[in-house]
Symmetry: C2
Subunit: 168 residues, 2 copies
Amino acid sequence: MAEQTRYEELIRQFSAFGAVKREIGRMMPSECPSGSAAVLTLLGRYGDMRMSRLSELLAVDMSVTSRHVAHVAARGWIERSPDPADKRSRILRLTPAGQALLDQLSRRTCQLLAERLSDWSDDEVTQLTALMARLRASFDDTRAHGPEPRPPVPPVLEQTTRTPATTQ
Amino acid sequence: MAEQTRYEELIRQFSAFGAVKREIGRMMPSECPSGSAAVLTLLGRYGDMRMSRLSELLAVDMSVTSRHVAHVAARGWIERSPDPADKRSRILRLTPAGQALLDQLSRRTCQLLAERLSDWSDDEVTQLTALMARLRASFDDTRAHGPEPRPPVPPVLEQTTRTPATTQ
DNA sequence: TATTGTTATACTCTATAACTATA
DNA sequence: TATAGTTATAGAGTATAACAATA
């Protein structure tokens, strides 16, 4: 448990992280934006799966997943075959072309990191990776475990000495 | 310098981080989305400044900054006064209402972090903050100057190699 | 001629809601 | 009735380019 100031600093870094994300995004082929790349990456990592599972891994609504999947499927990077166990579902699978693209993207992004983090030690890279993984887990957990007793957004407005057009 | 697999893991965490950002974003008042909050935060942190400086701190194009600033100015959270030194510029300044809102947002997000990271040690929070700050610096630097040594963020970690959810 | 900002336009990502086709 | 997935619509963030006012 850390105090206010420590959290404020962390939040600022979260905000600033967007710049890193955008720079990485700019390295992507225009045909394959980051959303598509995420789909390919997860399929390459976890193997064939259904929309719902992919949606969970992406941590976005299924409607969003559906769009990304449609995008990559239209370009022949993945295939959608009927699920024999449930006719409502389709099994997503990386095609050879998709795998080839994934390999290329991976090399490209890793090279960018190798350049930018050239003075980082292996340990530091590993530590950042571990901490970010744990961060995500900490957020996932809380969301899953329960809708919370409902005291999530407590105070809000108290010392709002003059808030002209704010009321939330 | 780390090898391919290590970078791939890091990239995956970067991608998954979006979920954390979105959850934090959902805590924001609808009148004050994350872009506006970033403007208030930076003005609160660094004091009055011009558009160009803010744009640099936000690490986005000035056209984007202009929109965010117009949004918060329209709600009375900041003021834009003419810059006596350069009539093309305007000095941005937080209003009392803006400061009040900023305080409120800060408390709200810090509380969210306090809940989610309740089982994190102070050290871990500090380490993640430091590593993310260094990450951003590594990207900034390379873009601006050259490869350079870049040793701004001190040592910091040592035992973070795998800390499941126990550390203290 | 160069710079500070603003505005118009376009693209990506996301969520909500309505809809289909199964279960 | 409930679930898997699709599509339409809307909102936020960002970038590029054209433009205004000033340096």
